[in-house]
């Protein structure tokens, strides 16, 4: 025991568990960046779900926390051994490489990486699908350099490509952007036709998918999973559902960002195109089922939105005002 204590100073935290249990649980490292965009929320939720189902984990938030710079992960978790690493932090190879390398050298069996469905190229034939499962010995990768590197280094890996998510604690505005305007009786300016389709999932769907991958490592191995709800929605539809959830009317106004002369990214939280994938690999390979029910989930979210007082918060709508001003002049959409 003393030897173990030297190598892994955090182990005493777990000593209350019978040794037998330690052998059965998976040790999972979840590397989070709490300041990053939408991904932080996945880690929190995933952590909760895993702890609920009996896996022990060390995370950067909640539960048993270890703080440190992900680039310094080697020192932060010195001596600790993990079975599974979930990296929810990486944007580029430089950030993720130390985690991957450290994981490999310490004998981690399964590497899970949260990528993004945003890397798919636009297509005339939606939805984005992952492609067929490759032979374990040769895993074909497309997309970012990070995904490629993981496939080179690890025998058992899985990559998850999420899109937009709703859930409290999310740093990135999604439904809130619509609520902000609806509760203040402001028009909702949507770029383009409003027919663009996107998947907006509740984060519990993503979390359940990650959990399944941990529980079925062989099935999940060498696969890419679109981490999205099983249903997509139009942008206009999202505005309507948010209004329905709030019990308020909505006025949707379409515009052409280029014609108005605004930065589309700042003006609207979604891309002005179809961003539409389907979670076919997760269904086929992991037997995953989605539970997102936007009608119900948005009602929940609206209650929370009001609870934190965001509906009363004073806000500026400079870009919106610019759009609405410009629309007094007819613009080709």
């Amino acid at each position: 025991m003393d030897l173990v204590r030297k190598q892994a100073p955090w182990l005493p935290l777990l000593l209350h568990l019978p040794l037998l249990h330690l052998l059965h649980f998976l040790f999972i490292l979840v590397s989070l960046n709490t300041n990053s965009g939408g991904h932080a929320v996945i880690g929190f939720y995933f952590a909760k779900e895993l702890l609920g189902s009996g896996h022990e984990e060390i995370t950067r938030a909640g539960g048993k926390t270890m703080w440190g710079d992900p680039a310094d992960v080697g020192n932060v978790v010195a001596g600790a051994t993990f079975d599974v690493v979930l990296d929810n932090n990486g944007k580029d190879l430089d950030t993720v490489r130390p985690v991957i390398d450290r994981a490999k050298s310490s004998g981690v069996k399964q590497f899970l990486f949260i990528s993004s469905a945003g890397i798919y190229k636009p297509t005339d034939e939606p939805p984005h699908v992952e492609g067929i499962k490759q032979n374990l010995h040769y895993c074909r990768m497309s997309g970012s350099g990070v995904e490629k590197y993981i496939a080179e280094v690890f025998g058992s890996w899985a990559v998850f490509r999420p899109q937009y998510m709703i859930r409290s604690g999310n740093n990135k505005d999604c439904e809130e952007w619509f609520f902000d305007r609806i509760v203040r009786n402001r028009p909702v300016p949507i770029p383009g036709s409003g027919m663009q389709l996107t998947n907006i999932a509740h984060v519990r769907d993503l979390s359940s998918m990650l959990t399944l991958a941990v529980e079925k490592p062989e099935a999940a191995s060498c696969n890419i999973f679109n981490c999205v709800s099983h249903r997509a929605m139009t942008l206009d539809g999202m505005a309507r559902l948010c209004a329905e959830a709030a019990g308020l009317p909505v006025e949707i106004v379409h515009h052409d960002p280029k014609a108005v002369g605004i930065d589309a990214k700042k003006a609207f939280p979604f891309r002005n195109m179809h961003v539409y994938s389907e979670p076919r690999a997760a269904k086929d390979i992991l037997g995953w089922e989605g539970t997102t029910n936007l009608q119900e989930d948005l009602k929940e979210r609206f209650k929370e939105y009001v609870k934190i007082g965001r509906d009363k918060k004073p806000m500026q709508f400079e870009i919106d005002d610019k759009i609405l001003e410009a629309l007094k002049v007819p613009v080709a959409v």
């Binding site: 297509t123 005339d124 034939e125 939606p126 939805p127 699908v129 383009g192 036709s193 027919m195 663009q196 389709l197 099983h230 249903r231 997509a232 929605m233 139009t234 206009d236 539809g237 999202m238 309507r240 559902l241 195109m273 179809h274 076919r280 269904k283 086929d284 936007l294 959409v333």
Partner: protein
């Protein structure tokens, strides 16, 4: 699939009817056991690879879907009868079909001549013949199905060609089999038929295709694009062109119809049947161009509200998203479409429209209205 007990191997070859499913057992006495087991099972419940011969009636079968479906069923060894008025020839050789295949099919297919709107005749003729399975490919209203059910009280299965057009328009897509349907839709007759089947207690299966395409298509789906591409004309597409639709090849649909025959997993179930990927309107124009070996088309977008086309249709699709998930058929029936979009359109072009055959003459009058206004604005 029931668990089979392995007995002592014998040197006898397996019974040929069941040999395909038992080849790996090397001719054991299993054959006997399986045959006996089949007889004890309720009719139509057991799905074996080489099905027992069925006496099948197809309502329709001489125009589009049934043409392909009847061939597959005859090949499987079933006795197939087509119920039609006889306006179209009962059989015609398909482009690409060999003489021997055609004559084999022609010699085996049977015809029952009649008008299905004559309900008394339907009831009496079907009752006199007796059929194990009915495929209703051209039914539109529930009343048309009643005499069939009345005539065949011991029917093993009623397989219906419904439509994804029954789904209620929604912001949440794709349409899935569990979704709300629209009792006011243009296809409410199909819905009423499905309800009738449900209430009647018969073993029914309903397939809901989206847009069907392929050789012999009489609905101007791909034909509309091919006319314009051949004429070297721009393709006018309403609004943004990002509306998403979905095409399913007729041969894949025919395969789906065969897959549900005698399949207990299909009992009293609805399945969406179409292509695995969807396509935008703009994307479809490009895919048709690829299929026919045409250069990338010039697409012109317009606002349909600015025009009065009268009774003419300026574009063959509904101006909205319209597509359905085929995951249920994939998971429950193991159905995977053979054709992807460009492959399927190529098949249609090579075997039909590319040969100069078409159902409707090209009519560019609405195109000209659109193009004249568009180019007038630009100049």
């Amino acid at each position: 699939m029931a668990k089979l007990v392995v007995l002592q191997p014998t040197k006898q070859p397996p019974i040929s009817l069941l040999s395909s499913s038992l080849s790996h057992f090397n001719g054991t006495k299993l054959c006997q056991i399986q045959y006996k087991r089949k007889v004890c099972q309720p009719k139509g419940a057991l799905h074996v690879a080489a099905s027992s011969t069925k006496k099948i009636l197809i309502m329709g079968g001489t125009r589009f879907i049934g043409v392909f479906l009847s061939r597959l069923l005859v090949k499987e060894g079933h006795q197939v009868t087509l119920f039609t008025r006889g306006k179209a020839p009962v059989t015609q050789q398909l482009p690409g079909e060999s003489d021997s295949d055609y004559s084999d099919f022609k010699s085996k297919i049977l015809h029952l001549k009649g008008d299905r709107q004559d309900f008394e005749f339907v009831k009496s003729s079907l009752s006199a013949e007796g059929f194990d399975v009915v495929y209703d490919i051209n039914g539109r209203e529930a009343v048309e199905v009643e005499p069939i059910l009345d005539a065949l009280p011991n029917l093993e299965q009623f397989i219906y060609c419904s439509s994804a057009g029954v789904y209620l328009k929604s912001d949440i897509l794709p349409h899935c089999e569990v979704d709300a349907v629209d009792p006011k839709s243009r296809h409410k007759g199909k819905l009423n038929t499905e309800s009738l089947l449900e209430k009647s207690g018969v073993n029914w299966t309903s397939l809901r295709p989206v847009y069907i395409y392929g050789p012999l298509n009489y609905n101007p789906v791909e034909e509309w694009f091919f006319h314009r591409l051949k004429a070297g004309r721009p393709i006018p597409i309403p609004n943004s062109g990002v509306q998403i639709t979905q095409l399913g090849h007729v041969k894949d649909l025919a395969t789906a119809f065969v897959r549900v025959l005698g399949n207990e997993k299909a009992s009293k179930q609805v399945f969406n049947i179409s292509g695995e990927k969807y396509v935008t309107f703009d994307g479809l124009a490009k895919a048709c161009a690829k299929a026919g070996g045409f250069p990338e088309p010039e697409i012109v977008h317009y606002n349909p509200k600015e025009f009065d086309f009268g009774k003419k249709k300026a574009f063959p699709f509904r101006d909205q998203h319209f597509f359905a998930s085929v995951e249920k058929a994939k998971h429950v029936l193991g159905l995977k479409p053979e054709f992807d979009l460009v492959e399927g359109l190529t098949d249609s072009y090579n075997l039909d429209f590319g040969r100069g055959t078409y159902r409707k003459e090209a009519d560019f009058s609405t195109d000209d209205m659109i193009l004249n206004k568009t180019f007038a604005l630009q100049s």
